[in-house]
């Protein structure tokens, strides 16, 4: 029954009828509908149909519930658990007694406990040791702790520099963001993979009086938080990963202003790891920006590569000068000697495959070649250390000493609501693969293959950065050849793994596209003339983009990009296009080290 029809004839709409049947209509309207039903056979039969189908569902549901059975333990033990929890919560409340400011807002029950606080400190200590609190803490408490731990980290070093890498998602567009921040000198450097995203994020920060140089900083968040007049906070604990989520909602946000922020803080060290910002748009749906930290380190200024804060100066001379100044003209190995050592280290690492797998940082610092390892005690670590030990001017160092944390997994997925996931091709993939677990395996294999290409590209990129043309020229022939050999190994690996990746991906998507009856129409390759230097980075970026696309089509939700529903044909054409580009980039990359290039 059309809306117009119902309105014209005074028949209640389907919705109204449903609400009437469920007793959800206001009294007056319910009376009207009841009167109408008494006189209208058509609507009576419509209501009857609704009632019958609802009854049908209820019968089905009861049958299903009956089959599944009742609670086997009949909820035994709940009261005991609750009582135990009460005791623990009280203990925790005693601990809070130490902060009267918070207690002013608390209930009378808590006030009584402030009196007991002094005597219960010992009890509390035992309580904390025996029992990890599952309770939520207040947002201001989490922020306070996070600020403290931030300050503590910075105070531990004389001239601390924070190095952050973040994955940014701005309304569906992904970018990488890297920040170097010398806290004392108030000197910042940022690098972005996408300038348009950078502009947009900078705009959001500026419009809300936040400091774009201090992303994901508890201090900055707290400043912003305290500047708000009308806000509400909530703290939730995301159990599986031991994360605390602070949600700050801003009342009466103007368009362009933030209306909600969710900050995820790691519970073990109060470190903020990700942030989702919802900016009020002029029309309806808020704009979503998410920033997820992928690595975080605090290091002394001396450990920072010189290029970071002195980017105008050419890398090699600057390094020598500063090194000489620092050492007051003390006897130092020459640049070439250091370079030779660096190549030897890289060679040794390459032989072990450590340049791809563990990727220790190899750096020319203060007249030494410093090898920083990010791993705990293990046989593999010993193996790597002993491989570089014999080389002249080499110091091996534990990066763990200054590195707070390198996030190996992104916590982004934690917040994703299940029922928002409706990836367009997930079902098709499961059908193609012949089951859920098969589809899952396929995706896992694909992710794996992509990761292998990715790490090889990253290794090649590092090699390229470490040995630009002018540095390689000064090396002896055999070392130049060694560098070329290493680069060639990586390029071959990229080609091999890349082919495997595409081989894994293409037939699936092709089959799905053909089933879709929408032939793939690969657009002309964009053919951007990538510079040799950028080729590796671009290849890596493209692969990441492709994997993101594939994940989005098969797995992820579309909350960020609601306008676009990907079909298999579109995914396929994107793959083909990227494949062409990847091949071109690989060619340019090869030109970099081939002897004919120069």
């Amino acid at each position: 029954m059309s809306l117009f029809h119902t309105w014209l004839c005074g028949h209640p709409s389907d919705r109204a009828l449903l609400e009437f049947l469920d007793g959800e209509l206001r009294f007056k309207r319910a009376e009207q509908v009841a009167k109408h039903l008494a006189s209208c056979a058509e609507c009576r039969s419509r209501a009857g149909r609704f009632r019958d189908s609802l009854e049908c569902f209820e019968q089905y549901r009861s049958a299903q519930l009956a089959r599944l059975g009742g609670p086997p333990q009949a909820f035994a033990g709940f009261d005991a658990k609750l009582a135990a929890q009460s005791v623990e919560l009280r203990k925790q409340r005693v601990g809070r007694g130490a902060r009267p400011a918070e207690l002013r807002h608390a209930l009378g029950l808590r006030r009584r406990w402030t009196v007991a606080a002094a005597t219960a400190v010992a009890l509390l200590a035992v309580g904390w040791m025996l029992w990890r609190p599952a309770a939520t803490v207040s947002a201001s408490e989490v922020l306070r702790q996070a600020r403290q731990s931030e300050t503590r980290q910075l105070r531990a070093l004389r001239n601390p520099v924070v190095h952050q890498r973040m994955a940014v998602n701005a309304r569906g567009r992904a970018a990488e963001w890297e920040v170097w921040r010398a806290a004392a000198a108030r000197n910042e450097r940022a690098a972005w993979s996408a300038p348009d995203v950078e502009r947009e994020i900078a705009g959001v920060y500026a419009a809300n009086h936040m400091d774009v140089d201090r992303p994901l900083s508890a201090e900055d968040y707290a400043d912003w938080h305290d500047s708000l007049a009308d806000k509400s906070d909530a703290v939730a604990k995301l159990g599986a990963r031991r994360l605390l989520q602070i949600t700050t909602a801003v009342a009466h946000a103007e368009p362009g202003q933030i209306e909600q922020v969710e900050l995820l803080v790691r519970e073990e060290d109060w470190h903020p790891v990700s942030e989702s910002i919802y900016v009020r748009a002029a029309s309806g749906e808020p704009l979503r920006y998410s920033i997820v930290e992928t690595s975080y380190a605090v290091m002394p200024m001396e450990a920072v590569p010189l290029r970071v804060f002195h980017s105008n100066e050419p890398a090699v001379p600057a390094r020598t000068e500063t090194a000489e100044n620092a050492q007051g003209g003390a006897k130092m190995p020459s640049d070439v000697q250091l370079l030779v050592s660096q190549v030897r280290v890289d060679q040794a690492l390459h032989k072990l495959g450590a340049d791809v797998a563990e990727a220790p940082e190899v750096r020319n610092a203060d007249g030494r070649i410093e090898v920083s390892l990010w791993m705990g005690e293990s046989a593999r670590r010993e193996q790597i250390l002993s491989a570089v030990k014999g080389i002249q001017f080499v110091t091996a160092r534990d990066a763990a000493a200054v590195t707070m944390h390198a996030n190996t997994t992104l916590p982004m997925a934690v917040e994703r609501p299940l029922y928002a996931t409706k990836p367009p091709l997930a079902k098709a993939l499961a059908e193609y693969a012949g089951g859920d677990s098969e589809a899952a395996n396929m995706m896992a294999a694909l992710n794996d293959a992509e990761r292998r290409v990715y790490v090889e590209t990253a290794a090649l990129e590092r090699l390229e950065q470490a040995y630009p043309e002018e540095r390689r020229r000064v090396l002896p022939q055999d070392l130049q050849r060694a560098i070329a050999q290493m680069a060639n190994d990586h390029a071959c690996a990229i080609e091999r793994e890349g082919r495997e990746y595409f081989n894994l991906l293409l037939p699936v998507v092709e089959a799905m596209a053909s089933r879709e009856n929408r032939p793939a129409t690969p657009q002309q390759s964009m053919g951007q003339p990538a510079s040799r230097e950028a080729a590796a980075a671009r290849l890596r970026g493209d692969l990441g983009r492709l994997q993101l696309l594939v994940n989005r089509a098969f797995l992820e939700d579309h909350v960020d990009t609601p306008a676009k529903e990907l079909s298999a044909g579109e995914v396929l054409s994107e793959i083909l296009q990227l494949q062409t580009r990847a091949e071109g980039q690989l060619m340019r990359l090869r030109a970099w080290y081939s002897p004919t290039a120069n």
Binding site: D14, L18, D22, E24, R49, F50, D52, S53, L54, C56, F57, E58, Y60, R61, Q64, L65, R67, L68, G70, P71, P72, F78, D79, L82, S86, L89, H105, L109, A134, A135, T136, V137, S138, S232, A234, A240, T247, Q260, Y278, E285, P286, A413, V414, R416, P417, L418, Y419, A420, K422, A426, D436, A440, M443, A444, F554, L555, E556, H558, V559, E565
Partner: protein, 199 residues
């Protein structure tokens, strides 16, 4: 297909909004938190259990989730969080815990979250279809089952929570959507069932 997509996207935005609507400040009664939880547990445990059971399809696990949801309510009430609608809160927490459990039930250390989510969603959908085999006795029951299987998970959940005797507004709070979305889901589900079953 497009309709359900639109609704799920809308649902997730509203879920964010209603999360803090649920948690917003509101003075609580003079009863102690423990007493309130015991009272609520007595009233709601069967309903919560059933709701979880239809997600997890496993009675012992559902019982644990139900208890855990009420224990969390107790923690939240004892802390700084003021809960406006405790019934909706506990249902919602149980609902989320159940989904979390689907996620962790997989031996999934090597799988990405995405994969687990995909599996969980499909397991949810499969779960509602499993009893088909047991009830394929008459043509009519088969017809009913296939009609119900065609509903979206959200539509089924709306119907199911309604069958539990919850008001539209409560269902909306639990699922994190607007009341009008719940009505619309129910209307579509009912119309679809009526059409499929030729009432």
């Amino acid at each position: 297909m497009h309709e359900t997509r639109a609704m799920s996207a809308e649902g997730s935005t509203n879920a964010i909004l209603s999360d803090y609507a649920l948690l917003s400040a509101e003075p609580q009664a003079a009863l102690s938190a423990e007493q309130q939880v015991i009272a609520l547990f007595g009233q709601l445990r069967t309903a919560v259990f059933r709701h979880v059971l239809l997600i997890l399809m496993n009675a012992p696990a559902s019982e644990d989730v139900t208890q855990e949801a009420f224990l969390r309510l107790h923690v939240a009430m004892s802390g700084d969080v003021r809960i406006k609608d405790m019934k909706a809160w506990v249902f919602r927490v149980a609902h989320n815990l159940a989904i979390d459990q689907l996620r962790t039930a997989k031996p999934s250390s090597s799988l990405s979250d995405d994969v687990v989510l995909l599996q969980a969603e499909q397991k949810c959908m499969r779960g509602t279809r499993t009893p088909e085999q047991l009830y394929l006795t008459t043509e009519r029951t088969a017809q009913i089952q296939s009609a119900i299987a065609q509903l979206s998970p959200r539509q089924r959940q709306c119907l199911s929570l309604k069958a539990e005797g919850l008001a539209y507004q409560e269902i909306a709070s639990i699922l994190g959507v607007r009341r009008s979305t719940v009505i619309e889901n129910l209307r579509r589900a009912t119309a679809r069932l009526a059409g499929e079953l030729q009432f």
